[in-house]
Amino acid sequence: MTSDGGTPPSRPSTSGLSDDAALRIFRTMCTIRSAEDRIVLGLNSGEFRMTYYGVRGQEVIPAAVCEHLRRDDYMVTTYRGMHDCIAKGIPLDELVAEMCGKVTGTSKGKGGPMHLSDPQSGLMVTTGVVGGGLPIAVGLALSSKLRGTDQVTVVNFGDGATSIGATHEACNLAALWEVPVIFVCQHNQYGEHTRFADFTRTRSLADRFRGYGMEARTVDGNSVPAMDEAAGEAIGRARDGGGPTFLECMTYRLGGHTFGSTTEYMDADEYSRAEADEPVARYRRWLIGDRGIGEGVLHEIEDDVAARVEEAVAAAKAAAPPGADELFTDVFSSQGDLPG
């Protein structure tokens, strides 16, 4: 996807991806899509009630990135981060339960869909404040450097987040300290209802962020081979002590800002072109056409993830909400410290 939202002319037809890796990425993307479809279904029917920030169209980015991450690598994401959470490995049951506000959720229902986290999976923070995650990611990466481990940290954020102060401070500090962090800008063309070109005169974010003295590149975030290669390079460099990278991953938000919100301000032609080329189907075609994977294999994966999503939903629905005693826990390490 180029910055004006169209499909780029050339697409790598060969790739360093093994079949196994290619299928793992497919499974991750399908899980994300399946979870989103199921949540949207439930929101439409009134079965669920939550503010949901859709990730349709952005599945490739974390699926490809996480192929290069270990469980003990760190990730930070935003409200629009269910795809990142799934790809990093938060158990589906706990993820769906948290979104439903149940005690079996990652945060016992106290965080909600905007605050998913699970240190066991390395998903350390989901923030609802635009840009708020970047300085924290620098600190996570700093811990690896100070301890001499080879863990890396990936932080996800939107194109809109590049306008805010915290982003700039974090990038300058990461470059200066050469910490192993990858800034994954999921450039989906919009910040809420405002188009990229309407919130900055910068044309290439990669060019701008290179100005901090770190590696930066623009990549087709809807192409698995391209994302895989770029993520692999950046993560490998970080792991080897080569410092941070800014990845401008071009994608497109296939939906409104949140579930139920309007898309009237979006360019209709561009939107339908993007929908016609949506990345799960695009990758599926590539697996079959370019990689010669049999459709049956893909079907099996699709059915399997749909079943797992359904199980997670059923479990979440059956679970209890947090009890009233939870009102006073987790504020401090000891309840005796509450001043109220």
């Binding site: 404040v129 840009g131 809109g160 306008s163 102060g165 209802h193 405002t194 009102l327 509450l338 109220g340």
Partner: protein, 341 residues
């Protein structure tokens, strides 16, 4: 403050019923029509969206995208730009989408907007209005639900306004825009789409004048914003039990209508301060300590406070409902107060 009090036009039940969001929109529209120095900046405020809470709907179409300007996601720049234009004599209205995001702009708000008049010995002033939505009760989670009026009150130089009805919202916002000091105007989300009568045309309410939303004899609820309808509902329930409750809606926290608070407290002898902000070190602490002090020995019961629990705002709806005060807990508290003495 007496002269101000007398300025307030009486409400008329035959006024058209509109939402608080529409009332805000009318005040902005009036101010922009009247004064070319008024303009609006913020995230997503242009049409077709017209603000995520619709406060600026139609304005960019009416007044153009020069005077109704979408901004990048950069609250420091939004507030700072408003301050700068106001120093040049304009009357900017900035929108910060949610009050939680004041945290990224506190330097502009507290170190600049609030202090520039004083630091210049009065040579400059900052006639800006910052509109913001205040969450709570909608499962938006810990970072989208905070009521931070206490931070604002504790920052000398800021006026703090929190309407509870569409009518008050229109009249007070209009006054904020034409006030010569920085005003923080808090729009409570859960009240934004409830209708109420609002005078058509130019309509102004003075800052610093509390409003008795219900008169009563046995106890006073001092409150504002979201908790006003909760207090009224509690009063209604209690009136069936023979307890007469006065509900005093402060409307503005700075300037603070001490006179009205003390008059009501002296009359009833029993006071509870209710707010959606965290109770601990919250806005109610100022009012409670002031009342306890000024009416020492003249109250029938200790001044109670009912604010949010000391914790971040929980997501799960059951927990969130217990996190904030609401009508049943307000009623319980008043029953206990009246039982006292």
């Amino acid at each position: 403050m007496m002269d101000r009090r007398s300025q307030e036009p009486a409400g008329a039940p035959e006024d058209p019923a509109i939402t608080m969001s529409e009332a805000v929109n009318q005040a902005l529209d009036l101010a922009m029509a009247e004064d070319p120095e008024v303009f609006v900046i913020g995230e997503d405020i242009e049409d077709p969206i017209g603000g995520v809470m619709k406060g600026t709907k139609g304005l960019s179409t009416r007044y153009g995208r020069e005077r109704v300007r979408n901004t990048p996601i950069s609250e420091q720049a939004i507030v700072g730009a408003a301050i700068g234009a106001s120093l040049a004599g304009m009357r900017p209205v900035a929108e910060v989408m949610l009050m939680d995001f004041f945290a990224v702009a506190m330097d502009q708000v507290a170190n600049h907007a609030a202090k520039l008049r004083y630091m210049s010995g009065g040579r400059t002033n900052v006639p800006i209005t910052i509109r913001t939505s205040v969450g709570g009760g909608r499962q938006f989670g810990a970072q989208h639900s905070q009521s931070l009026e206490a931070w604002m009150m504790h920052t000398p130089g800021l006026k703090v306004v929190v309407p509870s009805t569409p009518r008050d919202a229109k009249g007070l916002l209009y006054s904020c825009i034409f006030d010569d000091d920085p005003c923080i105007f808090m729009e409570t989300m859960s009240l934004l789409f409830i209708r109420g009568p609002v005078p058509a045309g130019r309509f102004e309410l003075p800052l610093g004048v509390a409003d008795v939303k219900r008169a009563g004899e046995d106890a006073t609820v001092v409150t504002w914003g979201w908790q006003v309808p909760e207090a009224l509902a509690a009063a209604e329930v209690l009136s069936a039990e023979g307890i007469s409750v006065e509900v005093l809606d402060l409307r503005t926290l700075v300037p603070l209508d001490k006179e009205a608070i003390l008059a009501s407290a002296a009359k009833t002898g029993r006071v509870v301060v209710v707010h959606a902000a965290t109770q601990f070190a919250g806005p109610g602490a100022e009012i409670a300590s002031m009342v306890s002090h000024d009416l020492f020995g003249r109250l029938s019961a200790p001044v109670e406070r009912l604010g949010a629990v000391y914790s971040p705002v929980p997501y799960a709806s059951g927990l969130e409902a217990r996190h904030y005060p609401e009508r049943t807990r307000i009623a319980e508290c008043i029953r206990a107060l009246v039982g006292h003495s």
